[in-house]
Amino acid sequence: MNFKLKSTVAAGVLLATAGGAWADCGIESGSVRILSNDFAALHAVAEWAEKCASATVEVTKNQTEEHKNVQVPALTTNPASYTVAVVATNSIVPLLNDDLIRPLDEYVAKWGDQLLDSQKIVVDGKIMAIAFMANAQHLQYREDILSANGIAVPTSYEDMFAAAEMLREAGVMETPISSNFMPGWNLAAEFVNMYLGTGNDFFEPGSAKLAIDNADGLLVLENMKRMVDYMSADWVTYDSNSTKPVWEAGEVALTIAWGSRAGAMIDESGPAPDIAKATSFAAAPTIGDNTIPSAALWWDGFTIAKNISDEDAEASFRAMMNGLSPEMMAENLDAAVWLIDGYEPTKAASGVIADLQAGARPYPMLPYMGLLHTALGDNLAEFLQGKESAEQALADVTAAYTTAATEAGFLN
């Protein structure tokens, strides 16, 4: 009886403290409706934003991989279907183009003390988004296999091909490399990574005119072709989801992978604990004689819709501040490379941090970059399959991009 009473009291105290924590958001009223992509780090942020829900504050979320296709129509309506759109470097562009998100300066001044300056995405002098995590591709390698064969961790693609050749000749693995080479978005992202690694720009300065038809473009394509030589024939179907089981099956020793997937790769409670234990990360390799990692840096952040009431906008901003709180980060250290104040990198973040430190370049936030990304995704496979020349592939990309950019009104 006594024991029962005690536990009831304890439960009551717990509830009271939990209630206190909710009240900490301090939002009087409003509606917070979050639209975001669907992965672990964003689940954590949305979950913490949801803690601000109360009798007068409504917090709902829709986390879907379709967010990119939903966001423009959903934010165009007045009032918008969502108050918060969680975006990345590329997906903020259509929202900016159509003027669907509002400047956040006022809210940052009032409620954003916790934010670092580096988190503020400033476009034309106005804060348009708050970034909270970074992402990039990195080199993921099998520590055990490399050291057993006396191979140092590759820092350049030349090293990586030499390592792959050694593993092949030693009979350890026939196809030691993998990468997300599935034609479409994935393959284009790999081209973008390597091309950024050459230090060159995609477009002529200040214009939408494509400028990849040059020696660096050819260097990237030849490099990609050499990678394919060390990859399984199934590379045409490789994306992040299909390369993971191949890695876990121990068939690959070197892969170019996403930083956001690193946590799952070293999770020893996963299907292949021994391989998870032997998996490590380093900066993406450099290409040719260049010295910066061939990886595009991405940020993920949130924006607030324009077509909503000021009350909802303020409530949304404050709920998201709770979503980005240090407490949220403390609970989810491994889920992402957080840009939040006080972040201490973990092993899962080591590759992306190495990219950052070695000066990797950001993914271009240009209004016509998406069109180039699509054109790259559609036109590189035939070259990699050996059906056409690198020059022809670049010419095809240029033709596809030029047609699309003309239709979209960026070129004449």
Binding site: K68, N69, V72, T89, N90, S91, V93, P94, L96, N97, D99, S118, Q119, I121, V122, V123, D124, A134, E174, M182, G184, W185, G206, A208, S232, A233, D234, V236, T237, A249, L297, W299, L339, L356, P362, P364, M365, L366, P367, G370, L371, H373, T374, G377, D378, A381, E382, Q385, E388, D396, A399, A400, T402, T403, A404, E407, A408, G409, F410, N412
Partner: protein, 342 residues
């Protein structure tokens, strides 16, 4: 039937067809004549976690004014139809002018996105359609001749490929042909070639897609033929037997002529369906080796951050024209038969 009664019966479906088929097609046709307004670009400084850069961005306020004035965009006439992503007139003229021989002309035209997709679409249509009709007919004949108590279960299992959602069906097969899957591994063992991959080689990808198409659609043909078989006049069959016709001769000279109208019907449906082949390309991640017209439309609408509506609309209209051309011979035959009868 008097015209008035006929109209009374038909008007609800006519109305629905106008609202949900004719008007949308007209609107797509209208959209295909327009492209986006010329973008007004401004140079701005963009700062983020990775530093500041001077970047170009769209002047959204100025664009909003332009769009309010002309919501459909810039009039482009048939420009979208003839550009490099569609019929590519300029490119083809240039190819003919600068190529040395027919092979080079063929390779270069096949490299243009629209023609690449068209070739696969046509190959798929003309290979899968007859195979579906033949296979469906054979299954129907076999099922029709098995003992009564087995018919129920056999019909059910034969229909399964059609019941399964196309995308799910193709994903299941996709995993089976993986080099670790049951079919992929079996083939590697059979040909003792560890590098054999159904996913990698363009030719094998085409074959896989054709096989999937036949697998998925044969049950449709089977059901139609099976229903038809139940109505084949028994007296004609019996008199053929009395005349000493073999089993094959009875099928060839009685059943097949009798079921011919059904075959036409299936051919019509299959030509239309197969010309719009799409799901297996996604399910099999086959876009590297095979694209179809429907895939091009999907790609225009979904691949980039901002959809290319004009381009997608033009491909849609070209697809409709393609379907009409394909169906013309069959429809003309039906029309003639109709005229003969009345």
């Amino acid at each position: 039937m008097p015209h008035k009664t006929f109209m009374a019966f038909i008007w609800p479906s006519l109305l629905a067809m106008i609202l949900f088929i004719a008007l949308p097609i007209l609107s797509v046709g209208y959209q295909s004549l327009f492209i986006e307004h010329e973008q007004i670009l401004i140079e701005t400084e963009t700062c983020g976690p990775f530093g500041c850069t001077a970047e170009v961005s769209v002047d959204s306020a100025a664009m909003a004014d332009l769009r309010a004035e002309k919501p459909a965009g810039r009039y482009n006439g048939l420009g979208t139809y003839t550009n490099a992503s569609h019929l590519a007139f300029d490119e083809i003229t240039e190819i003919f002018a600068t190529s040395d021989n027919f092979t080079e002309i063929r390779t270069r035209i096949m490299n243009l996105p629209f023609y690449k997709a068209l070739i696969f679409t046509l190959a798929y249509t003309f290979i899968v359609t007859p195979l579906v009709i033949i296979l469906g007919f054979i299954i129907a004949l076999v099922v029709n001749s098995i003992p009564r108590f087995l018919k129920g279960p056999v019909i059910f299992f034969s229909l399964l490929p059609m019941i399964v959602t196309p995308l799910v069906g193709s994903l299941v097969l996709f995993w089976m042909i993986d080099s670790r899957g049951i079919i992929g591994a079996a083939l590697q063992a059979l040909f003792s070639d560890p590098s054999l991959s159904l996913k990698a080689s363009p030719a094998l990808t085409w074959v896989t897609l054709f096989v999937y198409g036949v697998w998925h659609s044969a049950p449709f043909a089977f059901v139609v033929f099976y229903a038809g078989l139940q109505t084949v006049p028994q007296d004609t069959l019996e008199s053929a037997m009395v005349d000493g016709a073999s089993r094959w001769e009875r099928v060839r000279f009685v059943t097949i002529p009798y079921l011919m109208p059904l075959a036409t019907f299936i051919a019509l449906m299959q030509l239309m369906d197969n010309f719009r082949v799409f799901e297996p390309i996604i399910g099999f991640s086959a876009a590297a080796s095979a694209t179809s017209l429907s895939y091009l439309i999907y790609n225009d609408l979904r691949a980039a951050e901002s959809p290319l509506f004009g381009s997608a609309a033009a491909t849609s209209m070209l697809t409709i024209i393609g379907v009409i051309i394909l169906l013309l011979p069959v429809l003309r035959r039906n029309w003639r038969e109709f005229n003969r009868k009345t």
